[in-house]
């Protein structure tokens, strides 16, 4: 690995983004339980280091595809949080004007090609975004986030092969949180390490500690450099964990309390916070101030979203086509 550690400013930015994701998700869970968020909600808490560690290397010109558990990817990619909150509530002020909701939240202007309700669907789309970058020669890359469950879909294998033969500037990021819904990866995936599946397509397969920002950041830097310089795709498997269930309302009977608390003890945000303080990059007071600011901003976003109007009924019929 040649990527050097990020500077203080970037680390504080990463910390802020991770806190934003956690705060967003905790509030989304609570407000879902309170009946303010319709539909399905899948929370990203616990996996923050992955989205932020990867997206720290990206600009608005780079595209990502995401999953049903997509809020964290949105925030890490710079999608407006205020509009995200409103989108979760289905309000007209949402980033998708209430047409997408939690599972389809997107903002192409920020290079965010959508959360996705279909497991594994984002990988070919990311190949397409990478094809655009390659044909235009603009140095952009794309990243596809997906889970351990998606690594069993045909699209995973088709996308890795296509990206490999065309040397596409794409990074496949498998967030292995151990469970596809309730089914353990140890049962459903034929290999212990999904990164090993890269060998079948003759591309690098890297395992990182998804609970450690630096582990993700470093591997992502190398993979993004490799993609930008025309050397083709990389598969990164981030071993991670979701602190909540598959969806809000999940009884989580398939995990033991002991297992959950073992991972919660390795909270990625606490890890980064400790690093920053121990290395004199920030004081606890400075980080507390960031936490407070994020909390207050999000509370305002929820208040605003609650007060925001619903979409007009006519809006149900728009945006199907550009012209018809």
């Amino acid at each position: 690995m040649t990527t050097s550690l990020p500077d203080r400013e970037r680390l504080l930015d990463a910390y802020t983004r991770m806190v934003e994701i956690r705060t967003f998700e905790d509030a989304a869970g609570k407000n879902f339980a309170d009946g303010l968020v319709p539909g399905f909600v899948h929370l990203y808490a616990g996996e923050e280091a992955v989205a932020v560690g990867i997206c720290s290397h990206l600009t608005d010109d780079d595209f990502i595809t995401s999953t049903h558990r997509g809020h964290g990817h949105c925030i890490a990619k710079g999608v407006d949080i205020h509009g995200m909150v409103a989108e979760l509530m289905g309000k007209s002020t949402g980033v998708c004007h209430g047409k997408g909701g939690s599972m389809h939240i997107a903002d192409v202007d920020k290079g965010m090609l959508g959360a996705n309700g279909i497991v594994g669907a984002g990988l070919p789309l990311a190949c397409g975004a990478a094809l655009t970058a390659k044909i235009r020669g603009n140095g952009a890359v794309s990243v596809s986030f997906f889970g351990d469950g998606a690594s069993n879909q045909g699209t995973f294998h088709e996308a890795l092969n296509l990206a490999a033969i065309w040397k596409l500037p794409v990074i496949f990021v498998c967030e292995n949180n151990g469970y596809a819904e309730a089914t353990p990866a140890s049962y459903a995936v034929s290999v212990g390490d999904i990164a090993n599946r890269a060998a079948a397509y003759d591309i690098p397969g890297i395992i990182v500690d998804g609970l450690d920002f630096f582990s993700v950041y470093e591997a992502a830097g190398a993979a993004v450099d490799r993609a930008r310089s025309g050397q083709g795709p990389t598969l990164i498997e981030a071993k991670t964990y979701r602190f909540y269930g598959h969806f809000q309302g999940d009884t989580i009977t398939y995990r033991t309390d002991e297992e959950v608390s073992r991972y919660r003890d390795r909270d990625p945000i606490t890890g980064l916070r400790t690093f920053l303080v121990d290395h004199d990059l920030a004081t606890s007071g400075e980080l507390d101030a960031i936490d407070k600011k994020v909390n207050e901003a999000l509370a305002r976003s929820w208040d605003d979203a609650k007060a925001a109007p619903w979409p007009a009924v006519e809006d149900a019929l728009t945006n199907v086509y550009v012209s018809y």
Binding site: F63, T65, H104, A121, G128, L131, I135, A159, V322
Partner: protein
């Protein structure tokens, strides 16, 4: 509309499609082609800048020489992979034309078409678009049997976010394909394999035919026939027989099923008071059934007879030649059905 005389040349539908692709690629560098064997022989040393096949039916022949392998991309046999990549490329600024070799293969890639490409603009609140054309072969008639002979455009017509285009002759094929490529929405473009070799007059130039405008292929006062794709030709043959019997049919080719030129169909029925729909697709939940329902709803008072549908049966396409022959609506069957309602 004032008809403007344009120079024409006689060519096959295959060549007309090829010409449309060439024009579109010349006018916009964002137009790329991708599909299985669409150049043929990628990475074969002696074919570095030549095509071997130009697609299994030769529709893309010779395009790689002019536009190179960066814009004419041979894909592996990976329909979900490359159709999905085409959707992703369209959503990020290119205008891909993907070739799905046979429509029957849609099962391999439907999620990428229907759940991704067709829905993304809606789900994203209008912030994205998917200017993608998927060209695909349809139709029985060459004994290709059940997995290479279906029509299935009805399936896609059902789906919001997709436009469906089905040309019946070389001139329409050229004009409609140009419009489809210039269109900002996802267009499924259905090419009947039996029509590839059929020749006709094709206008020079780069003018597109607007999507959503039908065409009257034959004027008549007695019965309206709405015919799709190759069924236009079958109906024209039936029309000659019927004319000898004193029955003049009007043949409308909708050319696109989504959007559908409802006005043209209703205006014709207003004149003839009788409607027969001829469709090679399977009959249930089909374009034919949809058009029948539309006329029953909006034109009930115009009708003097029941609406009739002449379609393929509710079966897969059979292999054996005599069985396939009865599967496809014939001119005789069309004529017989017209006689039933006059």
């Amino acid at each position: 509309m004032v008809a403007v005389a344009r120079e024409t040349r006689t060519m096959s539908m295959k060549d007309a499609l090829n010409e449309a692709l060439r024009i579109a690629m010349r006018e916009d560098p964002n137009v790329i082609l991708l599909g299985e064997d669409i150049a043929g022989g990628a990475d074969v040393d002696h074919l570095i800048n030549e095509d071997a096949w130009g697609g299994p039916m030769g529709v893309t022949k010779n395009l790689v020489q002019e536009f190179g392998r960066n814009r004419v991309l041979d894909t592996p046999i990976t329909e979900a992979g490359f159709i999905g990549a085409a959707v992703g490329a369209a959503a990020t600024g290119l205008r891909p034309v993907a070739e799905l070799m046979y429509v029957d293969f849609f099962g391999c890639c439907m999620d990428q078409i229907f759940d991704q490409g067709a829905k993304l603009r809606y789900m994203f609140g209008g912030k994205a678009k998917c200017p993608l054309v998927i060209r695909t072969q349809i139709g029985a008639g060459v004994n290709a049997a059940a997995q290479h002979s279906g029509c299935h455009y009805s399936v896609f017509t059902h789906m919001p976010g997709i436009k469906t285009v089905i040309p019946s002759n070389p001139a329409d094929a050229k004009g409609l394909l140009l419009s489809a490529i210039r269109d900002d929405d996802l267009v499924m473009f259905f090419e009947n394999k039996v029509l590839y070799g059929v020749r006709g007059e094709v206008p020079d130039g780069d003018e597109g035919i607007p999507l959503g405008k039908g065409d009257i292929k034959r004027a008549g006062d007695d019965v309206t026939i709405v015919a799709i794709s190759r069924m236009v030709n079958q109906s024209l043959t039936a029309a000659k027989t019927l004319s000898g019997e004193g029955i003049e049919v009007e043949i409308i080719d909708p050319r696109t099923l989504s959007p559908l030129d409802e006005d043209m169909i209703l205006s014709s029925v207003e004149k003839t008071h009788r409607l027969v729909i001829v469709d090679e697709d399977n009959p249930r939940c089909s374009a034919a059934a949809d058009i029948a329902a539309m006329v029953a709803d909006k034109g009930f008072d115009l009708l003097d007879a029941p609406i009739k549908m002449v379609t393929a049966p509710h079966t897969p396409v059979p292999f054996s030649p005599p069985l396939e022959q009865v599967y496809v609506p014939s001119p005789e069957k069309i004529a017989e059905t017209v006689r039933e309602i006059v």
